[in-house]
């Protein structure tokens, strides 16, 4: 039963994009309508509720005017103009239906149909075909064209009339795992080509040939969709009005009959989707055009890679075992929870209150995360709660908190459309945050300038119709030196915004900071030897950012995952304050969050030192709020962070862990150390979809539910709280919030303490709103009404806050902080002469638990080592060779890929595959302020090898043993 009637909102196709401009009033079919200047007649008609027939138009694409189906009559104008390409004018009088236009439209349709197969009943687009719909709308009843004597080839018949193979016929291309291209169904409307250009920005498609030979073509001669530049975002499939580009799932399962709006469970962009189903069978995911984060676009992961939800690897029954060398035993929920509760209580009785803890997940909802940290604070009665944001954006929390007063991106994603200079630091949006990348590229094509600061030549540096003005290819680990050198240029060349600084920031702190950065040792010339960035290039980039109009900074884990991660975040905030690029549209400081709910998991008090809403546990008044709500006394001292938990486990003081939706063994650095920590614990509870790597060391496995199977909210990188809606029943029996509640209650019942009684995630959100000021006005009814809202949403900002720090900084005056460069202790030397940096790839996500269980593996079957041809040559390494990658922490082996995307001296790999275990290599060095691991800098050596290392083989054997499952006892 649904709790609310869901107003999905108007997502009709209005034909052409919305425009901004002065109001213009015109008359269409006798109705007066007022629209912004620049709006097309087609869109104006749609706004008035009058749908003009169309084929080549779609409101996410600029008008094209090729199909001629949308012709109208306009009083005083000659002929019948296409309504999609005709802008409105004051007093215009339009007729959308007349004998003349009806005749024209029917003629146009007849021509289309004359070269289109009429197998509608068995066509995969039957019922979901605009060509079919338009034939109906224009009243086409006949197709009078006949082939001349001797026959005439169509483009869709396999054989011509003589029975010979038809040379015009091109067979279906089903190379892409998710959709097919059937040229026989193509009407050459160009929508797919335009979507690939305008929406996605990849330019992989074109129309090849002329006249009757015109066909959609992916890539160059001899390419199919898979071998072309196509990134499988699906924008073309969505744009296609016929069955030409069609989801394989629709071909197999039929057209969906119902839909539910929900939020993607992959990256921090947090795209809104329509999950389209028949019964409880998911047929396809279609990006929702009213989704404020994605505006109707998506990437290959969100749109297509949901098959893991029904993968046979999913564990659906709870399991337990006494020791990790035993096979798993399937048991009832009661037995599993009772077993877990006994173990945890026993540990606390023996080793003390602080000997257990929890890890919340950025892949789980706000409500689930809130409950998990509450489990630590209100049931375990300690603050040993941490989240995987520890290993990604904890420095953002600290750095932005110190400078601006709160830890959050300052903008909404729409803001990039107003930026003039975009700085991308340590992020690879086209792979990590593809939908944001598409919006960024659209703005860049419109003329905005781009500065990329990254050791690697990421795709954004140069791709179709996009080229960075400056690429500062710094040496890994020198972010602070580069950012400070930029500030040096801005201050010493007088490019700072004094008015902004005087009004918004602490002037004395600015003065100290200005003196610090003005020192000649911070000049680009002085730091060039260290950073590897040419001084003139850096100066030019700094000048461009300071003087090029609206300057917006977007950054990722290449900033945070360093021993000076927090310092770089502060340096970035300094740059924005120096140049007045904060507090309005088109500017700002924007952390790109890796996982869908990194922002939310931080907001919900997952960190061991703060309660929900970023309030330190030392504050008695804050503790009082939660003590009243929860009826317990809250520990006033910070708890253990993830690396501290593991250290404490190795030293025998930390014995029990409840880990929800996280795979710390694969994702956290220094795998051997993580394994040692887990192995030292008496009770590890893993709550996940799959037997992940961490589960190899677990004693209790609680099967989790996917985002399709539960209600809740995710908060994306722009602080947008989006609803996650249950589209099908949980296959494991319970939503994750219910499981955490059952675990809490199993412990509470045994201790005769009051139980939790949440009946729906909406009740949990009520508690969040009641206790957390930034969420005060948030509730499910409001989210139904508004679709989504950006926090803070309270008395001061009842409609939410698309842009932060508009009137002033959250902390009052913005605070400049001195950012001295300190070299990491992780240094290259004779044994380990290369620097390894890590990242992700478009088709895979994080540890790959989800995407490896989808056909996305076709694009990335294994992790490979990117190495510069020079470094490869001196080591005798050729393309595709097995190489051993060794650091002082450990060694692993993978295949080499020679590329000049990495500079000499730098190697790069991804960490999507457990067989590679790239984190065997990474070290335990971490950010000074937050212990965020230094993933991005590891000194390594590379040499030829014969295949997997001993460690990999041993680990594979261990993993196989650890995953044995005995059949259920009953």
């Amino acid at each position: 039963m649904k709790d609310f009637i869901i107003p999905w909102g108007d997502d009709r196709d209005m034909g052409t994009p919305a425009k901004e401009g002065a109001p213009v009033t015109l008359e269409i079919d006798g109705f007066s309508v007022t629209v912004p200047e620049g709006t097309s007649v087609m869109r104006a008609a749609a706004i008035a509720g009058l749908q003009i027939p169309k084929l080549c138009a779609s409101d996410n694409l600029e008008a094209f005017g090729s199909c001629r189906l949308c012709v109208v009559e306009i009083e005083g104008r000659r002929g019948t103009p296409a309504s999609c390409t005709t802008p409105v004018a004051p007093g215009m009088v339009v007729r959308t239906q007349s004998e003349q236009v009806q005749r024209i439209r029917k003629g146009v349709m007849e021509l289309y149909i004359s070269d289109h197969p009429l197998d509608c009943l068995t066509c995969s687009a039957n019922g979901d075909c605009e060509l079919q719909d338009m034939a109906g709308v224009v009243g086409l009843r006949d197709q009078r064209f006949e082939a001349p004597e001797g026959g005439m080839r169509t483009h869709f018949a396999r054989r011509d009339t003589s029975g010979e193979a038809n040379p015009e016929y091109i067979p279906k291309d089903d190379s892409n795992p998710y959709f097919t291209y059937d040229p026989a169904k193509c009407i050459v409307c160009n929508r797919c080509v335009r979507a690939c250009e305008e929406v996605q920005g990849t330019f992989a498609l074109t129309i090849q040939g002329r006249g009757f030979e015109s066909r959609v073509s992916a890539g160059g001669v001899g390419d199919d969709f898979l071998s072309s530049d196509c990134v499988s975002c699906g924008a073309c499939v969505q744009a296609c009005p016929t069955a030409t580009l069609q989801e394989k799932s629709v071909i197999e399962l039929g057209t969906p009959t119902r839909s539910v709006i929900t939020t993607c469970a992959y990256c921090g962009v947090g795209c809104s989707f329509k999950a389209e189903l028949n019964g409880d069978q998911l047929v396809r995911m279609v990006p929702y055009k009213n989704g404020a984060a994605n505006r109707g676009h998506s990437c290959v992961k969100g749109r297509f890679a949901y098959g893991y939800a029904t993968h046979s690897d999913r564990i659906l029954k709870p399991m337990i075992r006494e020791r990790i060398d035993q096979p798993w035993r399937e048991v009832s929920w009661d037995e599993a929870l009772g077993f877990a509760a006994d173990k945890l209580r026993g540990i606390q009785a023996k080793y003390g209150r602080k000997s257990v803890g929890v890890i919340t997940s950025s892949r789980c909802t706000n409500e689930e995360t809130y409950l998990v940290q509450k489990l630590a604070r209100a049931v375990f009665l300690n603050n040993n709660t941490d989240t995987c944001a520890r290993v990604c954006h904890s420095p953002t929390g600290y750095g932005l908190g110190q400078t601006f007063g709160t830890s959050a991106g300052t903008q909404n994603f729409d803001s990039v459309g107003k930026a003039d200079v975009v700085v991308v630091i340590g992020a690879n949006p086209t792979d990590g945050h593809p939908v944001f990348a598409s919006r960024l590229k659209k703005r860049l094509r419109a003329g905005a300038k781009l500065i990329v600061i990254d050791p690697r030549r990421i795709d954004l540096v140069k791709s179709a119709h996009v080229e960075a003005a400056h690429h500062l290819a710094l040496r890994p680990g020198t972010n602070v030196a580069v950012v400070t050198a930029m500030a040096h240029v801005i201050v010493t060349e007088g490019l700072y915004d004094e008015g902004f600084i005087r009004e918004r920031c602490d002037w004395d702190e600015f003065a100290e900071y200005a003196e610090f950065v003005s020192d000649a040792r911070h000049s680009p010339e002085a730091t060039e030897m260290l950073t590897g960035v040419p001084a003139e290039e850096l100066r030019a980039a700094a000048r461009l950012y300071a003087t090029g109009g609206n300057g917006a900074i977007y950054y990722g884990l290449g900033v945070t995952e360093h021993s000076q991660g927090s310092t770089t975040v502060m340096g970035i905030a300094n740059l924005a304050m120096l140049t007045g690029n904060i507090g309005r549209d088109g500017v700002g400081v924007n952390p790109l969050r890796g996982q869908n709910n990194v922002q939310g998991s931080c907001d919900m008090g997952s960190f061991p030192h703060e309660l929900p809403g970023y309030r330190h546990v030392k504050g008695a008044e804050v503790r009082a709020i939660f003590e009243a709500a929860w009826g317990v006394e809250i520990d006033a001292e910070p708890g253990l962070r993830i690396p501290n938990m593991l250290d404490a486990a190795v030293s025998g003081r930390f014995k029990g862990l409840y880990c929800q939706g996280e795979d710390i063994l694969q994702s956290d650095p220094d795998t051997r150390h993580v394994a040692a920590g887990l192995a030292a614990m008496d009770c590890v509870i893993v709550h996940d979809l799959f037997l992940n790597e961490t589960a190899n060391y677990a004693h209790v496995f609680l099967p989790g539910s996917t985002f399709l199977e539960k209600d809740g909210t995710f908060t994306n990188a722009e602080r947008r709280i989006n609803r996650v809606r249950k589209v099908m029943a949980p296959r494991n029996g319970y939503a994750d919030w219910e499981i955490t509640q059952m675990l809490a209650n199993a412990i509470l019942a045994a201790e005769d303490r009051p139980l939790w009684h949440y009946t729906h995630p909406a009740r949990i959100m009520e508690e969040i709103a009641a206790t957390t000021p930034g969420f005060a006005h948030v509730d499910y009814a409001m989210l139904e009404e508004k679709g989504s809202v950006q926090w803070p949403c309270n008395d001061a900002n009842p409609e939410g806050s698309p842009i932060m720090h508009v009137e002033g900084f959250v902390r009052g005056k913005g605070r400049f902080i001195v950012t001295e460069y300190v070299a990491t202790e992780e240094r290259t030397g004779p044994r380990f002469p290369l620097l390894l940096t890590t990242g992700r790839i478009l088709s895979q996500y994080n540890v790959g638990a989800q995407t490896r269980r989808t056909p996305n593996t076709v694009w990335h079957t294994e992790d490979v080592l990117e190495i510069h041809p020079h470094d490869a040559e001196v080591r005798g390494v050729k393309e595709g060779d097995w190489v051993k990658l060794a650091s002082r922490s450990g060694e692993t082996a993978m295949r080499a890929h020679l590329t000049d995307r990495v500079s000499p001296g730098v190697v790069y790999t991804t960490f999507h595959h457990p067989t590679t275990q790239a984190n065997v290599i990474t070290t335990d060095y971490s950010d000074w302020a937050t212990n965020c691991p230094e993933y991005k800098v590891t000194a390594v050596q590379v040499g030829l090898s014969n295949g997997p290392t001993e460690w990999q083989e041993e680990y594979d054997a261990l993993a196989e043993r650890a995953r044995r499952i005995l059949p259920a006892a009953e």
Binding site: K354, N383, N384, E512, F516, S563, T567, P608, H609, H616, K618, E637, P638, G639, L640, R641, N644, D647, A648, V650, S651, R653, I817, V818, T819, E820, V822, E825, D924, S926, W928, A929, T930, N931
Partner: protein, 67 residues
Amino acid sequence: MSHDKLIRMANQIATFFRSQPGSDQVEKVAAHLKDYWAPEMRADLKAQAADHAQEMDDLVRRALPLI
């Protein structure tokens, strides 16, 4: 917890605050340790001062009594 790791982490904190203007670096190091380190970690660090004081940054040593 192992002394080399805790002392390295504490020294990193000291290095940052040494670079900051003002004369209250010791207090800032102590405040950071109190705000972000669990009490057991602080206790371990203090206990390690007996044998490993020479490995500690001066700011860390001076902050110890305050945590």
